[in-house]
């Protein structure tokens, strides 16, 4: 390859990066601004930066409660996803009667977006008596076709000879699953954790429908509710917005590689 000048590439990518980052900056700037946020022209850098919008919002809403609700719902969803999908994924690597049918079922379920089923899903959850509960909030996300196939692909990739060798060594089926298959499917587990975290953590529509009491609101719901009763009248909304984004952002920056791989794997295998 011949050497080319790289500055045009850098210039273009810097411009795009600016477009991607400026919205965050604009909200961050507003949230720490010490002056009237509706003054025109808006200042580019915050003058008299202070954290008072954050303090206001902390006392205006039960942020810790929302956060805890989100954490509980996500934790339940992640745990259920890893266990159920690993089980189903493992079962699908085996030979059994009706496998084609099950595969077809899982594949076709992938084509049903959850948003297209909300009304009966709401009615079903109501019949189960799970409205306004942690279980009701997380139950629809307990198992997803994409994650099952991610596990299946990962289990399929375990060399047959390895399993046979383990069996010859006298290991039981359970020990093989636990000691051989699961450790080798670590990246599938990472994908499962990340996908189910993103889905449950960011989920808005389902909590909006299922949640009744203010005590059960998750972070996205709390944020949207705050917007609807504050109607942009205060910079506290933007402080809240940043507070809501911060945990997800932190996690993403800590586990970037896993996030990118997980999301790509979820898409390509799905």
């Amino acid at each position: 390859m011949r050497q080319r000048r790289t500055w045009p590439v850098h210039a273009a990518l810097t411009a795009v990066s600016a477009v991607m980052l400026l919205p965050f900056y604009w909200v961050l700037k507003t949230s720490i601004s010490g002056e009237n946020i509706f003054a025109y022209p808006p200042s580019i850098v915050p003058h008299g930066a202070n954290p008072f919008y954050y303090i206001d919002v902390w006392y205006a809403i039960p942020f810790a409660r929302y956060f805890a609700n989100s954490v509980v719902v996500s934790a339940i969803t992640i745990a259920a996803n890893v266990v159920l999908n690993a089980m189903a994924g493992y079962a699908l690597t085996q030979r059994f009667r009706g496998k084609k049918l099950v595969l077809l079922l899982f594949l076709s379920c992938m084509m049903i977006p959850f948003q297209a089923t909300i009304i009966p899903a709401y009615l079903i959850t109501g019949r189960l008596g799970l409205l306004d509960s942690y279980l009701g909030l997380s139950l629809p996300l307990f198992s997803t076709s994409i994650c099952i196939f991610v596990y299946k692909a990962s289990f399929d990739a375990v060399p047959r000879s390895l399993i046979d060798a383990a069996r010859v060594d006298g290991l039981s089926q359970w020990t093989i699953i636990w000691r051989v298959m699961i450790p080798l499917a670590r990246s599938a587990t990472a994908t499962n954790v990340i996908l189910s975290f993103i889905w449950s953590w960011n989920n808005f529509m389902w909590p909006l429908i299922v949640t009744r009491s203010p005590d059960m609101q998750t972070l996205p719901l709390g944020l949207a509710r705050f917007l609807s009763y504050q109607e942009d009248s205060t910079g506290a909304l933007y402080a809240f917005c940043i507070m809501v984004l911060a945990p997800g952002l932190l996690l993403f920056l800590m586990a970037q590689k896993e996030f990118v791989q997980g999301l790509a794997a979820g898409a390509t295998k799905g």
């Binding site: 954290p51 008072f52 303090i55 206001d56 006392y59 932190l250 800590m254 586990a255």
Partner: protein, 132 residues
């Protein structure tokens, strides 16, 4: 990928996922300790007249932000050196004003606290330079 690079990648993972939450926990814990030891709701300050001499027996009012407006929460009077001291301020967003018949009244100044009921000594005295 060699076994070595795999373990080194895992060590990198473990470091991040342990150190960052630990750091956060330490910061949050430290902040909570600080809050717990500084939340007596004591607000102190001084009242002076237009010439800068301390005013005794001035009425000092504490206004607390409530939904959309500030409402008067409590009132105290200054001692002979013009000092006042509120105890039990519950809020994080307050205003303070002072007045004395025959001397004048002060601006209502806003005081932002970093947490509810933070102990605070006002750096600037309240100046009774407005006609009452």
């Amino acid at each position: 990928m060699s076994a070595r690079s795999r373990t080194s990648r895992l060590r990198w993972l473990r470091n991040r996922f342990v150190i960052v939450p630990l750091l956060l926990a330490v910061v949050i814990g430290g902040w909570n300790v600080w809050v717990a030891t500084h939340d007596h709701g004591i607000v102190t300050g001084r009242v002076i007249d237009a010439d800068g001499t301390p005013v005794a027996d001035a009425n000092v009012r504490l206004w607390v932000f409530n939904f959309t407006t500030f409402v008067e929460k409590m009132a105290v009077t200054t001692d002979t050196e013009g000092r006042f001291r509120f105890t039990g301020n519950p809020s994080h967003n307050i205003q303070i004003s002072a007045d004395k018949a025959g001397v004048g009244r002060s601006e209502r100044i806003a005081v932002r606290l970093y947490f509810a009921a933070e102990d605070r000594e006002l750096a600037e005295p309240l100046r009774l330079d407005k006609p009452s």
